[in-house]
Symmetry: C2
Subunit: 431 residues, 2 copies
Amino acid sequence: MNIQEIAAKAKQASIMLAGTSSQLKNAALSAIAKALKDNSAKIIAANKEDLANAEKDNLAAPLLKRLKFDESKINGVCDGIESLIKIDDPVGKTTSALELNEGLELYKVSCPIGVIGVIFESRPDALVQISTLCLKSGNATLLKGGSEAANTNKTLAEVIAAASETAGIAPGWLGLMETRDDVAEMLNLHKSIDLIIPRGSNEFVQHIMTNTTIPVMGHADGICHVYVDSNADLDMAVNIAVDSKCQYCAVCNAMETLLVDKASAEKFLPMIKKTFDEKQVEVRGCQDTAKVIDVKAATEEDWKTEYLDMIVSIKIVDDLDAAIDHINKYGSGHTDTIVTKNTDSAEKFMDLVDSADVFFNCSTRFSDGFRFGLGAEVGISTNKIHARGPVGMEGLLIYKWKMKGSGHIVADFSENGKKYTHKKIDKTFKI
Amino acid sequence: MNIQEIAAKAKQASIMLAGTSSQLKNAALSAIAKALKDNSAKIIAANKEDLANAEKDNLAAPLLKRLKFDESKINGVCDGIESLIKIDDPVGKTTSALELNEGLELYKVSCPIGVIGVIFESRPDALVQISTLCLKSGNATLLKGGSEAANTNKTLAEVIAAASETAGIAPGWLGLMETRDDVAEMLNLHKSIDLIIPRGSNEFVQHIMTNTTIPVMGHADGICHVYVDSNADLDMAVNIAVDSKCQYCAVCNAMETLLVDKASAEKFLPMIKKTFDEKQVEVRGCQDTAKVIDVKAATEEDWKTEYLDMIVSIKIVDDLDAAIDHINKYGSGHTDTIVTKNTDSAEKFMDLVDSADVFFNCSTRFSDGFRFGLGAEVGISTNKIHARGPVGMEGLLIYKWKMKGSGHIVADFSENGKKYTHKKIDKTFKI
């Protein structure tokens, strides 16, 4: 099958999946977990092939570590599936109910989005997590993993598809894309695909966004800030800034720019410089910063840069307003933190900073689906339409309006004087 | 100011609007209503100019009627503003709250989307409705109305902007685009504009969608169906089909194709044909339909056509599954109705038809923001991302994640054994 056929089959399956019972979906999830364990030898063998190829290609050690998929990883994803089974089915939830007239009732009911195309990095765990999250939320999915993991992904997808389809899920709900050409072709299939979630570099996400009319949920950049207010606990500020920068610097929720209120600068900058030096963080600063501590000069370009490295830029700002302006101008709408003892300042910061995650007195590094208690995460969205910030299962749902009447027609209201009651009712949808 | 400057100013204003109190927004809405009444002579004079130009240009009578903006229309929009003042501020609502650890609390809080560009048809009432809806929901807005209403719109926008800004709303929150070039330029301003809502013809909406990377909320088409099941009350089915087609045929929620179960066809088709003939509806039918009643032959093209006219196509289908398949293949995801006495069939239809509005035993014409009790309507969305079906104020909101801690850092969890509690808390966000 080519991608067009795979996508059309997924679309067909997605219609059936939207009406599949929780019981059947959970039974399929159990079957998947069992099949992954039963086929662990086969999966690990496929992964060993990928590892051998990757070593031949001199893949960097951290990437090799992410690629490795062994018994303990299999147990890990199976634990994830077990917790997915336990949570409530998110489909079919009534979120509002209104009587329009006697016997005419309108319900807003959650439903799956349809077919979701996900492009993810080399970690094969992601294939299991994303596909099972899609299944639980009633979505069909087309997946493309990193080419380094091609054998592992193929085996995993086969095992998952076979087990779920034997359990009664509509065939074709899980499609695997294997090449970059497959991905390029997918971008044109707006009749079959409802949402694309690209995970990867900023350039890659931008590339996807500009080359498709299908809605894309992706984060473009993670330029996160910590703002140390005039009225901050400076020891706390050091702790938070260091955690935000250094706890894991290669990720999107790490701090890139530290904004320091001019009233705090003289005392705070030497404190943070000392810790950054110990941690071997390269510090770049604005002209005012350079008057207080020894730093490389930061340029305009620094404020726009996601280093993803042990580099930080520091800017002294006049006040809270200037900090908010800087973040809204240079930030990427991801995660920004204020450190302050002044709750009015915190409130203003959290209202006016136009980012998905706005934090008060805690590290930017908390911006994460697991830490947010969302369970598995399909990604972090800097979109402002639909879903924002860490996205769990809720981000894979939309709603439909279901209305039931007993022959109601509009003419009776428009021409014959019938009135809309618009009375809220406390009911969940049921025919 | 050019459009780029107007948009940049709107962006700036949107930041302030996001933090503006309900009290101030409501005071501004009151001031707007008062100013509209105080300036009614000026508004009506501007409208008379537009009407005179439109008559010179031989604008059709129904369009002239929509263009007219007199004392009673002014009172109408002011009533709308009064009801907008009364409803709860939708901004700042906590929709979920979770303790991550002692003193570390995560809140999901509703917030405005930002700057919304709306392109609407000639009706000047729309300018007042949309701008006040945006103001109440904390969004800045750039508006482009029909060129026939240029003078009326300019006067209305000036009155609204002046009154609201005097009341204390950030200047520039309401920008007016006046030419097609302005709209073309807006499509490139993805840094300043967060969402575009185009209202107008299908071609126009498609044109906008393919020419911008800004998210677009628009309905592409309204190809709505009524399906008469094997087990339908046929008198009810006639009523619903006639209302869906004829009550107002030029609108997106009117029925275009009538699907009839083969078990109902022989009895139902002569009944509906009689009424359609009385109403002078042109009936086109599939081959099987032509065996029962006298119709023009429908072609493949008919199933894909939004007539927006007194024309209907009829297809006989084998069963419920075939009806669902037809709708998912040819429909536009707008509004579809099943007429049946069988609740299992209704449930299946409503689960598997992939449309924004799925109705049971009532007319497709109910698909409308006012009838749905949403108050003013910004449009009807056939998107599946973000908002779907009739869109009221809720569709102008998104959320942010607000988290408050007391110095919490990730390292304590990742390296020092601190545990996430992930305990639901029953609190609304407050610093």
